[in-house]
Amino acid sequence: MLSFAQPLILAALAGLALPLLAHLVNRARARPLRFPSVRFIGPSQLPRDKRRSLRDLLLLLLRLLFIALAVLALARPAWTPADGSAPAAAGQTRTLIVLDASASMSGWGAWEEAQEAVKAAAESGNPTGLILFDTEILATVPVGSPARTLEQITADIEPGQRTGDPSPAIAAALHEVGPDGPRKLILISDFQQSTWQSPSWPKLGEGVEIEAVQVGDFARPNAAILDARAYAAPEGRLRVLARVRNDATTTRKVTIELHHDGDTETQTLSFAPGQTQTVAFLIDKPEDSEGEVVLAEEDAYAGDNAFAVWLGTPAPAQVVALLPTMQEQDKLQEVAFVQKALTAAGENMPQDFVLSGAAPDFDFGAVADAIDVLYLPGTTAYLDEVQLEMLRDFVENGGVALITPGQAASRQFRLLREGGLTNTAFVGVPGRNREQREPFRIATLEPGSPLAEVFTGESARDLALAEIYQYVKLQPDAKASVLLATEDGDPLLLRETLGRGELLISALSLDTQWSDLPLRNAFLPVLREVLSQAVKADDTVIRLAVDEPLPADFPLPPGATTPRVSAEPGVIELGPYMIQTNLARSESLNQAALVSDIRAQLSGETAPESPDAAGSAATGPTTAIALWPWLAAGALACLLAELLLAAPARRASSRKAAHA
């Protein structure tokens, strides 16, 4: 089949008329010549030179051929050999629609548009099939099925509550359209970022055209409940905190309701564009442990307007401090500061930690399961080998150790290294005299670092103003992440992973002799945030997305298969555990991936820089044979022949001009 990359250039074939006209007009005509006297020049008949006419005709033919070949070459023709398969022979393209049916497709008007797009594709005249997917392939309609079947299926099925994963669907689609002939995939989706960010999509083979149809409008206003949790409040009551985000581009009032025990608590808050707020409900301890936070108004996506919440009280994290001796007043002061910070509770801040003290020789190995955090305020130096072994076991099994330096910091880090807990080494003490030198400062937090999200604006300023008089200089382990550092780059707070647990190592004693940090507002959030990130969520409640399996380490009786308990949103009780299931909040994301990037990744290419380039890269089989080089060579040959043939005539013409 002959095709042209630049078919509009073919209009230049009209230029063939030019040499033809010139040939007809430019017959042997008498040229004017001014001569001194014509008295001896007699009139004569015009010559009839047949040989010259033949040459003229040949020249005309060559010129016509040159123009035709040059124009055809510029139009970039390509010859696609006929394919043996039936659809190709009939000039049809095997088409397969890959339709996204993840939860987000139920919002932003996407599904209605998708139904229209399926209808349009099914009626294109090509043999068309359909694959419907969310996390897995939901339905497959073979290529060549009637258009009505495709429309009926999209009318009957609605997007579910699961997240989307297009990889299996695309792989199945490539298998369905076959290996030969013209093939086409039509991707119909909202192309939500969370769905279309797989790094391992199957690559399209040669000759597979891809068309992306984006449906839905993420600009429509939406509000989402991101999370909801219950905490114990004073007087046996319960505090339910829900985080709500306004995805609209305008400020709006959002009414949030909490349904529990047949009652409804209501709060209305004003949200700025893009703002996330925590809404607190204070309720009496309910009889039914299942509650639901709901947004009262309808919006673009209904899937994130409800959140099932377990109305129980998670146990606070247990922190055990191995107390120093009474001689170490500074360290005792530190323990007091840390206790105050961890056990503080407010209106919107539940009590997350309970701190209890123990002697350094306390056998914490016996109660390790009940301890979440082991706090070592300089007392690492007192641990013997057995205790160090216990400490390592505790951390490797998921515990968190918070270690601060004491007077014998050097010995502390040596013991930790010898105990196989860390490779972080003690280097020295840069400053000891608070009177004689400028205090050290905490460096600005790197964007994206764990504490950067917490410390913004005024809180970051407070942290930066903290004066540090003394710290131990550490050479951190290669695997350690630095949470806080001085302006010179020395680490102040390190987090290291050991087994399933973590070590939090401070280069700073948390008392007022080493710094004024414990006296600052920033101290409480630093400590709580660092510990919250390290301590595993309370293991009373397991939070799942719809259809998400139970965690692999969920304790099951030997031989039992993992039950699927998350088919619908809600709260169920499974033995001592509460299973809280909700729609995946990733489906609430109102941002679409770049279609050009998706096309490029599927085509196995790097992302194109412009949308046009993306379009051209994604379309068109590459088996066509380019004809333009042959045509260009032909045009060149014609030009040379014309020049050779016309050379005598041109020389004669120049002589005549000279005579004139």
Partner: protein, 300 residues
């Protein structure tokens, strides 16, 4: 390598010199330096009378022989020989505009170069040079004179000439004859096309007035053999008449008629006792200069 005489008189070489004074000087000096000395005769002085010697007179004019015979002092009084007038009559009609493929310049330019060389040569020999140029009307008239800058005036006038109109030989030569006062050398330069009946008679009149007359016919080589290729619409430069012709078919007839015309012209001039010099625009100017000096010889 310095240019040879031939180079200096080659119109292809001279036509590149835009300045007629330089052109004439180059050609004439080169020409003279290459000639045998006998061809060139200077002018002497003519004895008029004796005069009594007065103290202070130049002793070189004292007649020593008479002093020896008669013992009286006489000085000779000489009269300078009267110089000739050289009248250059130039036809500037439109037919002289033609320049063929083999010619170095147009016929008019060649005619002007010839006139310039003759004017320079004459001035160099102490003659008075004048110019009379015409086409359909009078173009330039410079009476012969010996004032300073006369040659310059003639050369400047030559520079101003442009070919135009049909030549009105009879009327113009009549006008020229009326202002001719004394014996002169008349050098008539023209292509003389269609003038075979008028020109010999008109120039004969000058001859009868004891003027030595030289007719110089300037022709382009194309006018002799019509080498035009293909069909051409010939437009007569003077009459405006047009003839469409294929030269290949009419060339022989043309050359025959042209030859007859030239022969009859020569015969007519012979009858009129007027020398005819025919020059092609691709020929050396030496012929013109030699013929001019030959005429000068004829005057003595």
């Amino acid at each position: 390598m310095p240019p040879s005489v031939h180079d200096l008189l080659d119109p292809a070489h001279l036509a590149q010199l835009g300045n007629y004074a330089l052109l004439a000087r180059s050609a004439v000096e080169g020409f003279l330096s290459g000639m045998h000395r006998s061809l060139f005769h200077g002018f002497g002085t003519e004895f008029l009378q004796y005069r009594d010697y007065t103290p202070g007179a130049d002793l070189k004019y004292l007649d020593w022989k008479l002093l020896a015979r008669s013992d009286r002092l006489y000085t000779k009084v000489y009269q300078e020989e009267t110089n000739m007038n050289v009248q250059l009559v130039l036809d500037t009609s439109a037919s002289l505009e033609y320049r063929g493929s083999r010619a170095a310049c147009t016929k008019l330019h060649y005619a002007c170069m010839t006139a310039a060389c003759l004017a320079y040569l004459a001035t160099r020999q102490g003659d008075n040079v004048g110019l009379f140029a015409y086409g359909d009307t009078l173009r330039e008239v410079i009476p012969p004179g010996h004032r300073a800058g006369q040659l310059e005036r003639v050369l400047q006038a030559l520079t101003r000439l442009e070919p135009a109109g049909a030549a009105k030989h009879e009327a113009m030569l009549q006008t020229f004859g009326n202002q001719l006062r004394q014996r002169s050398i008349v050098v008539f330069i023209s292509d003389m096309l269609e003038g075979e009946t008028v020109l010999p008679d008109q120039l004969k009149r000058f001859r009868l007035r004891h003027c030595d007359t030289l007719a110089v016919q300037v022709l382009d080589p194309d006018e002799l053999d019509l080498p035009i290729e293909g069909v051409a619409r010939f437009h007569d430069a003077e009459t405006g008449r047009e003839v469409t012709s294929w030269a290949d078919s009419t060339r022989e007839q043309y050359m025959s008629q042209m030859s007859d015309f030239l022969d009859s012209l020569k015969e007519s001039f012979n009858r009129s006792q007027v020398d005819l010099l025919r020059l092609g625009t691709d020929e050396s100017l030496g012929y013109a200069l030699a013929r001019y000096l030959h005429h000068r010889e004829g005057l003595r």
